[in-house]
């Protein structure tokens, strides 16, 4: 790892870990978003299978 890259990496990691800095890890994806996608897909899939085969 070249020195230039290493020093920039260290600077950024410090910023991510500094509670006072404006940088940081983004909040996680809400579980509700995943549930909504799965439920919507399940409903659409069931409707399409019914349309095809019933």
């Amino acid at each position: 790892m070249d020195q230039n890259f290493r020093s920039e990496l260290d600077r950024r990691l410090d910023l991510y870990e500094d509670p006072a800095a404006d940088e940081g890890v983004l909040p996680p994806l809400p579980t509700g978003d995943i549930v909504v996608s799965v439920v919507v897909l399940a409903v659409i899939s069931a409707a399409l299978l019914g349309w095809c085969f019933l």
Partner: protein
């Protein structure tokens, strides 16, 4: 940031495998949606639709495309995108928590290079077919699909793609700004022409191109083709998602682009294939639109293949350059692009073999991608509950959390291999003949389930007791993150 670092960032195709800062997250929800739709509305969606129409009729084509893409895109939008956006890191960096610091590099290098080369070959040949068909219609020539002219046209498509790639992201954006809306127009015109010439009720009655196939098995193959088609986005999409400003902005645009836009284009492709009795998209335009409109559309689709090669190639180059570390960063962008396209140059000289085996090609991708996606999903969402150790992702010293064994998490590789084996047992990737249980299970989904369960179990039995993977640090990382996250 140092002056040297600024200069390197200005190079064409430069990508930093550093965690992004807030100002570098340049995409809103709608920016990512636009990029995503541009990627999805590409000529590969027509190929996908044509391949599906080989096995099933119109109703089953719609159902299999929606269900297959829906399942795979949810996984693809979650597993690589959310870790990349949360920590602002490239996909191969986020993959270190599951496959190890060296293992993730090998995976991204091999997969990105192989898939980009294969896609480039298929699309370049499609470009050759398109121009040959226009030439046959215009000049009354009889250019064969495996003739020298088609091979040279394919080669020319690869060379032009390389030239565009060497000019970096600006030229790619310029070309895509014209081609993506153009493909939307072509897709809509095709849809209108299909319904004008065939009609809804007649379309619904049309038999699949392989009419003598066992209908139940054919429907499951169609589902499998679409699951595999969606999984093909896995190597690239995380690197795009990390440019967005929230986890939601990284997730939902995939549903508009990779899912909805792909579904629409693939359904139009399937309808066209059924209406015209050919799975080859370059055979549709002139019969549908007549010589002038159809010929122009076919020429446009021919050129659009080049932009698809460039879009796929650029994403792969970003991954390869990041994955290759210092060597990758030092190698000139044009040389790296040439190296990536060399296999495609060879494949375009075997056009019929390459182009007519689209199903097998997608299947070969899925046999690797389905298990990898499952392992990454279980690692990030179930075992680590969306929390990684950012500093550990950049620490490849022995004993560091994501170093595992010599830089490789053998548990993850064994789990992925188990899933790949299940896939091969259910659907032979060489002759594309399914085993009897495929009728009820398909292949990618059981492969994902086996890989995911194996990874979860082996991690708890082997990895965690050995103190590898930094799983014990999750609680500390959680507390630390809660004090440093910024607003959604």
């Amino acid at each position: 940031m140092s002056a040297d670092f600024d200069r390197s960032a200005a190079e064409p195709g430069f990508t930093s495998d550093l965690p992004l800062l807030r100002r570098e997250r340049i995409w809103s929800f709608w920016d990512f949606s636009a990029a995503n739709i541009g990627l999805a509305i590409a000529t590969w969606a027509f190929l996908q639709g044509g391949a599906v129409a080989y096995y099933v009729g119109a109703k089953e084509a719609v159902a299999s495309i929606v269900i297959g893409y829906g399942i795979s895109i949810i996984f693809v939008a979650l597993a690589p995108c959310v870790p990349s956006v949360r920590y602002g890191v490239e996909q191969f960096v986020s993959l270190r928590s599951s496959f190890g610091t060296a293992g993730s590099r090998v995976i991204m290098l091999v997969l990105s290079a192989l898939l980009a080369a294969a896609w480039a070959a298929v699309l370049a040949i499609m470009c050759g077919y398109a121009f040959a068909n226009v030439c046959n219609a215009l000049f009354g020539t009889d250019l064969a699909t495996d003739g020298l002219v088609v091979k040279l046209l394919g080669l020319a498509a690869v060379v032009v793609s390389w030239i565009i790639l060497t000019r970096g992201p600006t030229s790619i954006e310029t070309v895509n700004r014209v081609v993506s809306p153009g493909l939307v127009v072509v897709t809509l015109i095709m849809l209108v022409l299909v319904f004008t010439q065939v009609g809804w009720s007649e379309l619904m009655e049309l038999e699949p191109l392989a009419a003598d196939f066992d209908k139940h098995m054919a429907f499951m193959i169609a589902i499998e083709l679409n699951v595999a088609g969606g999984l093909a986005w896995w190597p690239n999409v995380g690197n795009l998602a990390r440019l967005t400003r929230s986890s939601r902005a990284a997730y939902w645009p995939n549903m508009l682009g990779l899912f909805l836009a792909s579904v629409i284009a693939a359904v139009v492709g399937a309808f066209s294939a059924l209406a015209l009795g050919s799975e080859d998209p370059t055979q549709w335009m002139i019969p549908l639109g007549g010589f002038v409109l159809g010929g122009l559309a076919l020429l446009f689709v021919g050129f659009a293949n080049i932009t698809s090669i460039v879009a796929q190639g650029y994403a792969a180059l970003v991954a390869v350059r990041g994955g290759a570390g210092t060597v990758g960063r030092r190698l000139p962008w044009s040389v790296l692009a040439a190296l990536l396209l060399v296999p495609a140059v060879v494949l375009v000289f075997f056009p019929d073999v390459t182009y007519n085996n689209y199903g097998r090609f997608v299947s070969w991708g899925a046999i690797a991608l389905a298990p990898l996606c499952a392992v990454q999903f279980v690692d990030f969402f179930i075992l680590r509950r969306q929390r990684l150790d950012l500093r550990a992702m950049y620490d490849n010293r022995p004993g560091s959390p994501y170093h595992f064994t010599g830089g490789f998490n053998l548990v993850a590789f064994a789990s992925a291999a188990g899933g790949a084996l299940i896939y091969a047992l259910l659907l032979n990737p060489v002759d594309y003949i399914p085993a009897e249980p495929f009728r009820w299970l398909a292949a990618s989904l059981p492969a994902m389930l086996v890989s995911g369960v194996l990874y979860w179990a082996l991690t708890r039995v082997i990895t965690i007791p050995r103190g590898q993977g930094g799983f014990g640090r999750t609680a500390a990382a959680t507390e630390s993150e809660e004090s440093t996250t910024f607003g959604a």
